[in-house]
Symmetry: D2
Subunit: 385 residues, 4 copies
């Protein structure tokens, strides 16, 4: 039994951060779902709250009164084990509850959980709270992606009042050489990690080289201008179909205006800056770019082994690894076990972190994953050979 | 040149009425588009305003400053002659401008138009203002349909604070007999009418009989319980496919709960009242019901000729007439000519009016029209034989 | 009781004609279904045969042995009253039974029905045989449409060995004037007609004029070259969407090659002949062409009343009438009642006949009907004003 | 320069085998395409022939006259480098050329290539001929899948006159234990292999166990009867959606009739035999089955390392490995380089071979691959833990 001031303070900090991201949103912005892979911001605000209510307060707090009986149905995401839920594709139909009601829900759960923590919690509860906070940090990042997508589809291109810093990829490109041999992969130690980072295990890597920095916008413009989007030899067959069917000729949010490449950013509609890292490209585009360079994307294992020799954290980095279980992977029983394992097919791994990642929510063994055609997340390219 | 106090007062009354309909909506409710045939309430509020700005102020008011240069693009509906516009299916992406900005837009245009009218207007301008008001009244009715659809798809079934009165269809059913002969159809006189009500012309009708009242919920429940939705002999081939493909077994908004028929109404989720007229049925269902009764739907001509012998106005009434031009129909030149003529294919005529129709926006020659599969509008069934 | 040599001889003649149409098809040609509105030729050959087996031999011939128990399931078209059937969209999956088996089926039923007729048949049976023959003649025409569609989608553009004669529309265009008044519409007399041509009834027509000939290819090319496909003011809203979504810029089977308009015909790939009537245009295109000419399409009533004053029969003529029941229309009980009535929504009427119509299968009261977007049938344009 | 009697004899043997597979097909069977992943048998017959014409005769034989100038367009599959082609989804529209013409094409190319070989060929040409033969053997297997799919969708369930032998999986199930360590993976030696089997490289494997035999129909029926298709905890999220959306409750070709599991096989419609290996299941189903057993699928590396300790060859075996390049994989330049590399995303690897695999076209390093939702190929399940 621990009396957790640090847990409580960390809990409130993370919760507060979510609201900070949304502080300049209007109520009109929070209920729409412009694409199936996007969730309305209001839904994120409520869903992350529901997680604590469902898995902590309703489970462990005696005589807890849920804020609203219907919210479990509205704001469950995909936990089949926890019952019926609003279908993902229909999240954008829910205009009610209002933003204010959802913020009240957050306040209510924050207070109840703070009281609950103050009375002392077990290790088990502490661990689930930590999962809830990690979960909320993941949704903070998704919130930023989704707000950008909602705003980027407004004809008026609004600005989000939230600070995001980009750094130029200024270093001269060098390739770090890693010698052939057995390496250890996966999380080690007692700190938090997701089940998909386990078990720590050995892999055999052959000699390879990996870039010290990300591909820049200038380099990507060179690819566009060299006809990269027109040369099928550079593309996977599915990638070629994808860019044809969707008429894709540049990263998401890019528009050519008066001969210049412009892009929507959360600071508005601005000219593309050459030495920032290129973002909002699908795995297919990352792969084609690497082909065009005569190189390739690293595997997630190559990335992890070399990761202490380069800087990362501006953009999630597409790897050429499919998202699959590690040796001796076991998923947790019950609802929390639905977190990772059931997505281990048809997705590609991304490594690193991005400017939209919560502080502290990052480590070299972290395995992010998305479908090869998605582009709305903050993702970039690191070359290998 | 007329100095039009009545025009100005009528203008402000109609405009005010639109805002009354929306007064209990939250900002969260106004931007979503749950189906392609629905428009977001905010869009209706802005589009009806744009109409006056585009066709009156920008045309006739010297040195008029448009409220916002981009609004013409955002809020044009389908007037190809007036330039590019946001696609119908993408209206639900626009979270900005906010509801408040749109209300400010309404205020601005109301003031400018009031000043403009006060200075005296020509007959031509007066006529276009009248079209704008008729147009806005049509959108008032669509607003009610669309709000009902948005609310009816909320898991929480909200209530709209707007008074809608329904009357029981209490009269004993009688059939009014109309003798064979030549009749005149279409609008007559100098009052406002739409181009599709002209020219007034002769038709030859054979003997027929038409009901003095609408079909009630009780009668429709009898049809459901007799297996009407399972007997293909009652249905058009396309109607049969429609109910199969969409798994339709009752009117829109109806749900069977604990053995009782319940329905969502703008007053909330309530039990179906037997002697109210049945609504929210497609043309296909209206037709099948009539077949089951051994009768038929009237043509729009039969309806118009007999309309002075029965009450109407609770629900638009599906006729068995396709929406086609009258003899010598001519559409107006330019953008306003896009109002009616281009929809004269693949739609069915409805006659009458509904409880959602603006007061005064109704006459026996009025031709409403919808696709045979639509059900979200306020529509009912009158039998003929 | 009649001993019907003429029935038998007519029966065999019509049946023989179906096989003549197919005589140059290879087995490879007869099983595919390149679009949902097309049926494989083999299916037509079998379905028309099934009609006689189902409605005559199985009903009226004692101890009749069906050729194959499964054929009723394979070759029923849409008669819900007669039981389960292969779905329309899946007709193209049936490679078995083979063409030869289907031809054997035809021979078997021809022999059995000939024997049956020879023994003397009642009026009722004679009437159903006549319906079967009319039905087969309709399928002969559909066969020609479908073969043309199958061949027109071959990269090798094959030729059908079947004689089809086209006449130039050589007459100087004149407009026949018809005075206002009451006219009678619909079939009269004891000859065969379909239920949709009844009852004969009165209509009131206003003054109108109708062209003595069809629109020619040259006239249609002028419309194309004047930008008719780019001017939305000429089109129904649905028509405009249809040509945009399907990238339609000319009639079906037309291709521009080396600056010349070429077209696939059943005689191969040839240059478009200017003074032949234009064909393979949707209702939308026919309407837009008429708008461009400042005229309109006739109603089916106008067409019928004037039809004794012009030549027709090269192409079915789109009218501006929706397909709806005549006053006092009643459909036959049972399966044969599914013939017409259930299609009376969302289709347009065509009048006349075409070069693909069986000889004798034509009269001025005949009501053909297709969806406004279809183009694979033999259809043309006659102007009115 | 070799004078290759063995090449010629092998060439004619392989070519003959393709025709043997098709010998009981009727012309009606060879042109349809019941699903996009199926190709018409006629297309396989021609495409494999085109390969030799395109890459050997047109390249290396002086003054070679192609059989038909259009065939390159008709029968190219996906080699973008070789020019325009009929789209995959439209292969089923081509009723011409007829089966006989395609067989004539085969004879022509066989003769020309035999003459060409007889004159002596270089190593380079010999290698391309070998690729063509391997390619044709792959199409032999696809032919069997596609014929089964075409026949399995006939209401008459035809029999293919082609001998396919199945063996009961009779051995008692045992698990072979493989110790942790470094293993070598990939093809070794001078024999033919595909580029995706290279380069031979090291992997590190942890301790694992792998079954000595495949999962049987009886075992799979136990999974069905235990509710395996209703328990989402067993499934990938995409797998769960896949079986829901397509209403899948058993392997492809299985039907429950009178309480018994029946299946379509190339020998007709028969009862499922309990101790034959289960086939026609998607990767999703294979995975769910393994989950239900508390085990897993092997990786392709685990499979390869253990493959000399069990029998395989009845069914391709789904592994839990995504199809990705080996270290130092390089694709060939030009059209032949389009063979494998461009499919290395979103597909799963299968190892082994099947009863439909050509004799000799099998080795332990062979990497087959299909999308996780496909079921029409001959595939089974081997468990690991």
């Amino acid at each position: 039994m621990k009396f957790e001031t640090t847990t409580k303070s960390r809990f409130l900090d993370v919760r507060h951060q979510t609201e900070q991201i949304c502080k300049s949103l209007k109520p009109e912005d929070v209920s729409i779902q412009p694409a199936e892979f996007v969730s309305p911001p209001k839904w994120h605000l409520a869903h992350t709250t529901w997680f604590f209510e469902q898995f902590i307060l309703s489970e462990f707090q005696q005589n807890y009164n849920v804020f609203n009986d219907d919210f479990a149905y509205y704001f469950n995401s995909y936990y089949n084990n926890v019952g019926e839920r609003v279908l993902r594709a229909e999240r954008g139909l829910m205009t009610r509850p209002s933003l204010q009601e959802v913020l009240d829900y957050r306040t209510y759960v924050n207070e109840k959980l703070s009281e609950f923590i103050a009375k002392g919690i077990t290790e088990e509860v502490s661990d689930i709270i930590e999962i809830g906070l990690q979960h909320e940090q993941q949704h903070q990042e998704l919130l930023i992606y989704d707000i950008k997508y909602i705003f980027g589809n407004q004809p008026s291109f609004p600005v989000l009042d939230y600070n995001i810093d980009w750094q130029a990829e200024k270093e001269v490109q060098k390739f770090i050489r890693i010698p052939e041999g057995i390496y250890e992969i996966g999380h080690q130690g007692d700190d938090f990690c997701f089940d998909n980072e386990l078990s720590r295990h050995k892999v055999y890597l052959h000699d390879y080289e990996i870039s010290n920095r990300l591909v820049t916008n200038s380099e990507y413009i060179a690819f566009i201008e060299a006809g990269g989007y027109e040369d099928f030899n550079l593309w996977h067959a599915e990638g070629w179909d994808f860019i044809q069917d969707n008429d894709i000729k540049a990263p998401l949010y890019w528009h050519k205006a008066d001969g210049k490449w412009m892009q929507y950013t959360l600071n508005g509609f601005v000219e593309v800056v050459g030495d920032l890292p290129v973002s909002h490209i699908s795995f297919f585009e990352a792969f084609a770019f690497a082909q065009w360079k005569g190189m390739r994307l690293p595997t997630e294992f190559e990335w992890e082994v070399a990761s202490n020799q380069f800087n990362y954290g501006q953009l999630w980095e597409w790897t050429n690894s499919a998202y699959l279980p590690y040796p001796n992977y076991t998923k947790v029983d019950g609802a929390l076990g639905e977190y990772n394992g059931k997505f281990m097919v048809n997705q590609m791994v991304l490594r690193g972190a991005s400017v939209a990642t919560a502080i502290g929510h990052s480590r070299s063994t972290y395995r992010n994953f998305f479908h090869a055609n998605l582009r709305w997340h903050f993702c970039g390219i690191r070359l290998a050979k």
